[in-house]
């Protein structure tokens, strides 16, 4: 298969994909094309799309590649889509940040940081698929431990959790270590059945 041909297929797959596509997934479809070639072609496509005349960008997000609109066009796209605003409030955002940085973490631990009840917020985040229960903590009551999902990475344009900016050291404070005495929960599907 010609290099240009492969590149063209990659673009088509990116267009039809529901979510980010991994290099692995491209390789499965394009049998016989090695991952290095796919990776190199994706890089090429990425820089080509950086031209000011292009309205799409190829981003590396949640472990894969995805076509997204150019940020400068946000207002036009929003005008076109219309739709109802569903803003993420500060309480939701703060809770999500705590979970992202401190995962796996229980509801009680989040509450001790925010100083308020987070029941409603946790429900919202679970419904939006931004967090999931990943395990249960081996303490009385066996509370759920929550962690972020791939949707979380997609929402904030993150390749993976290591891309989260380092927490600012505002002062010489020491965070209490979260103990890792956890019971694995298995797959998310099982959790929903609980």
């Amino acid at each position: 298969m010609e290099r240009e041909e492969v590149k063209s297929v990659l673009e088509s797959l990116l267009f039809v994909a529901d979510g980010p596509l991994t290099v692995q997934r491209f390789a499965e479809v394009l049998e016989g094309v090695d991952k290095e070639t796919i990776y190199a072609l994706l890089q090429e496509m990425q820089s080509e799309l950086e031209a000011p005349s292009r309205g799409l960008q190829l981003v590396e997000v949640a472990g894969g590649y995805q076509l997204r609109t150019a940020k400068v066009n946000a207002d036009w796209v929003k005008k076109f889509l219309g739709g109802r605003p569903a803003r993420m409030g500060r309480a939701t955002l703060e809770t999500l940040a705590i979970i992202a940085y401190r995962q796996p973490i229980t509801k009680a631990e989040i509450e001790s940081i925010r100083g308020v009840d987070v029941d409603g917020v946790i429900t919202t985040l679970l419904e939006r698929n931004l967090i999931r229960a990943v395990a249960r903590k081996d303490v009385p009551g066996r509370p759920f431990l929550y962690g972020t999902t791939a949707e979380f990475l997609q929402l904030f344009n993150l390749k993976d959790l290591t891309e989260l900016p380092t927490l600012k050291e505002t002062d010489e404070i020491s965070l209490p270590e979260i103990s890792r005495d956890v019971i694995p929960l298995g797959q998310p599907e099982e959790i929903e059945a609980l």
Partner: protein, 257 residues
């Protein structure tokens, strides 16, 4: 009292404390506990006079503050040496919690500044999840609103105590009025909203009406700079059926009845 505002819009006692610390331009690590406690309690009073559902956490923090304040008043241990608590500032634990909370508050802001999907960037068939305000404007925090409300209440002449006519103003009436104003003018200054109000009761009812409309996202409260004028504007064009639906969520009974 049927009008209740979800406490979730108040980000919590730690957030209120950070707000007060910032407003007083003092350091988190050296909080003037008497001043901050006083202002904290004054804010709670204001919330309660609005019959807002002050969450238990706010009250727990109030007692923590009072406790710290009383310990700060104790004379320093002058015979020195054997006291276990020596050298421990009663504020330490609170400072640790405030700093920790602040880190995540900042982390949340950092997240919000990224290219957020369906707000800044879109994939195929995406729907917007966040409606940004007009350029340069930011949404006002509830604490700033409360401070603005307090200024309005304080401006009332002090001799209103002989008010004898029991005014029957309902939150719903005020909501209708505010929507009318916005339909005609597009936006209104926060202060002007209360210009015609003649009593503390009327101010509070007007304020609650405004919060109700924010809650259903019919209006937006914005400010173009810190401590600048606060403006209220229509967030969505609403037809009369939509308006009716919003109004019907609120009981049409005089405040305090």
């Amino acid at each position: 009292m049927s009008t209740r505002v979800e406490t979730e819009i108040f980000e919590g006692p730690l957030d209120l404390l950070l707000h007060l610390i910032k407003r007083n331009e003092v350091s988190i690590t050296d909080i003037p506990i008497a001043t901050i406690t006083e202002q904290y309690l004054a804010t709670l009073d204001l919330l309660q006079s609005l019959s807002l559902d002050v969450a238990g956490e706010f009250l727990v923090m109030a007692s923590t503050l009072i406790h710290i304040k009383s310990r700060m008043l104790l004379p320093a241990d002058d015979d020195g040496g054997d006291d276990e608590d020596e050298g421990i500032d009663p504020r330490d634990e609170l400072v640790r919690r405030l700093l920790e909370y602040q880190r995540y508050k900042e982390a949340a802001q950092d997240l919000d500044q990224r290219e957020v999907l369906s707000r800044d960037v879109f994939t195929r068939s995406a729907a917007p999840i966040e409606e940004a305000g007009p350029r340069g404007f930011r949404e006002v925090s509830v604490f700033e609103l409360l401070a603005a409300l307090k200024r309005i209440i304080d401006r009332l002449p002090k001799d209103t105590f002989h008010e004898v006519t029991l005014e029957k103003i309902t939150v719903r009436e005020k909501m209708t009025h505010l929507l009318d104003v916005l339909r005609n003018q597009g936006s209104v200054l926060f202060e002007n909203l209360f210009a015609a109000a003649s009593s503390r009761m009327e101010i509070i009812v007007t304020f609650l009406a405004m919060l109700e409309l924010v809650k259903v996202r019919a209006i937006r409260i914005v400010q173009d700079e810190m401590a600048g004028p606060i403006t209220i504007e229509a967030a969505a064009v609403m037809d009369s059926a939509g308006e009716q639906a919003v109004l019907e969520q609120v009981e049409d009974e005089p405040y305090g009845a």
